[in-house]
Symmetry: C2
Subunit: 331 residues, 2 copies
């Protein structure tokens, strides 16, 4: 069994993150990572007639450009693994329709990037695939209208609310070539401490992030140069730090959150920071991947965090369950 | 590489379908498979205050009873793989919250059962897991209100419409023990021939079913005693037969559809037959699994078929993409 501890799968062979491609929206393209993205799209519709169609264009283009850049033919991709925030993961399904590859759809809300990369890594190491592309996306406008309120209403945003990242990140995993390697994968459990506030996703996700991260560290006994969560924002990041401090396992020096990395939180008026499937996807595919390539860090624990928030059952009085998946990466 | 042909992954070791557990609703419990289900629930709310909460109780109970029946402790389950039709796969997410196991959420609409069993089989054969539970569900009432019209309206149903199965099927996959074995897995591509009619899912899914099934047969060069699609109903099943006939590859003698097996179509007034994630899940977990155990058939190609129908982008003029995944099973 390629498993250590309670919950962590170990990659024995080579699973190389060969390349990435990231597309960011206007606001993300004005933030601190602006020089790291492969493409910035200023128009929130990108010439389409709906935000949903714009989002699927982000995802489709991210994969197409990743393949063009690396001269990969679609017949050499064994599997496309994708998901997103929208109902019926419509951005992924429709992008996959255009891309014409065998398709595994996943749903983990904002935990999708680590979930799809984790599955892809295991399928490659299991000997089933040579090349897998993992992709996800989110779009501020399509997410707001599905999960919260019509944008046209111009509602006041809560200070604990996060700004859904408009962007898509695609990753090419392969059993050959050079690049950082995925060494282990921890799929998380669903953790729900009863948060019901749809404007405080950071608090809803933080206990799941803590649970998966702690289990991964206990299972692997590794020390990482950097550990990142997906989109907890300032509120959730503080809760994670507090939970580790209570365990006398301070991680503050090595830990950061993609939702606080992607925006200049004060200047860009994003309240608690970035969120959405696209958040950890574009931060990983640009900033973090480059840190690994450049040797700024030798290893990275990359975690994506999801709030499995259902507006329907929330109206029925239910709370918001959280989940987090993580992968360990080495140069 | 454990892959043959263009799209089919081959299982080299043992991936045993150790046991199944099925729960069916009232209408399904009055149909031709009534003596095959482990449990029949007559109440469409099962004591809960919403159909969504009822559906998650189906899914949670199916897994709990499967584990009880086989005396499995949750700590011995390496992974729970689940998905369903509802937004944010809420039945699966909330069932997973109660079950407390590492959780991989998938979305493939009604293709979920074969998708989750396929992934589970590959992860076991890849050496990552000893025991995996795959589960899915659907509920007539929660699906109708999410995808079509309020039930209270009492709208006339189209003759090509299908009846969403109320039910849940859970499957225990293991690398040891005795039972039918999964031998290969084909994940499908998204196929969309432009059907826009949300009352004719069979026609929307049939081309994807044909594509995956044909690719699987070409890749494996196998002949099966029985091949089943998930929920094409009478309309979709006829289209699949016609597409194979045009290829001079008649499959009619060996091919059936779970959506036409689960109901007495004329007497039960279900128009084109059953549908929903639960359809192929409960038909596989009861009737088909028993056929394999009894030796009525020596092998089975089990396919689940999904219509990735998004009410939001349908209103924007988009068509309904289809997908189908299949697994080859031998006694």
């Amino acid at each position: 069994m390629k498993k250590i501890g309670k919950q962590t799968f170990v990659i024995k062979g080579d699973v190389v993150i060969r390349d990435t491609y990231t597309i960011a929206g206007k606001k993300e393209g004005e933030g601190p990572l602006k020089d790291n993205f492969d493409m910035i799209v200023d128009d929130s519709l990108w010439g389409e007639d709906s935000w949903e169609k714009c989002e699927l264009k982000f995802q489709q283009t991210a994969v197409e450009n990743l393949m063009k850049k690396n001269k990969i033919d679609k017949n050499n991709i064994d599997l496309l693994i994708a998901g997103d925030l929208l109902n019926q993961i419509v951005s992924s399904s429709f992008a996959a329709r255009a891309l014409g590859m065998p398709f595994v759809g996943v749903y983990g809300a904002c935990s999708t990037m680590a979930l799809s990369m984790g599955l892809g890594a295991l399928l490659i190491d299991g000997g089933f695939a040579e090349n897998v592309i993992c992709v996800t996306s989110s779009h501020f406008c399509s997410a707001e209208r599905q999960y919260r309120l019509p944008l046209e209403m111009g509602g006041q945003r809560h200070m604990s609310a996060q700004w859904t990242v408009t962007g898509s990140g695609a990753v090419w995993l392969s059993n050959s070539g050079s690049g950082p390697k995925i060494k282990n994968v921890t799929f998380g459990k669903i953790i729900d401490l009863g948060v019901k506030d749809a404007n405080n996703m950071g608090a809803a996700m933080a206990p799941a992030a803590y649970d998966t991260l702690k289990q991964h560290l206990l299972d692997t006994k590794k020390e990482y140069d950097l550990m990142t969560s997906g989109d907890l924002g300032t509120v959730g990041k503080n809760i994670v730090n507090k939970m580790f401090n209570e365990d006398k396992m301070s991680i503050e020096d090595k830990y950061d959150d993609c939702g606080t990395i992607i925006f200049d939180i004060e200047k860009q008026d994003v309240h608690a920071g970035g969120s959405g499937c696209g958040c950890s996807a574009v931060v990983f595919g640009s900033f973090l991947y480059k840190k690994l390539l450049n040797g700024d860090i030798d290893n990275l624990l990359f975690m994506s965090t999801g709030a499995l928030h259902s507006p329907t059952v929330s109206l029925q009085g239910e709370s918001i369950p959280g989940i987090a998946h993580c992968i360990g990466i080495e140069r």
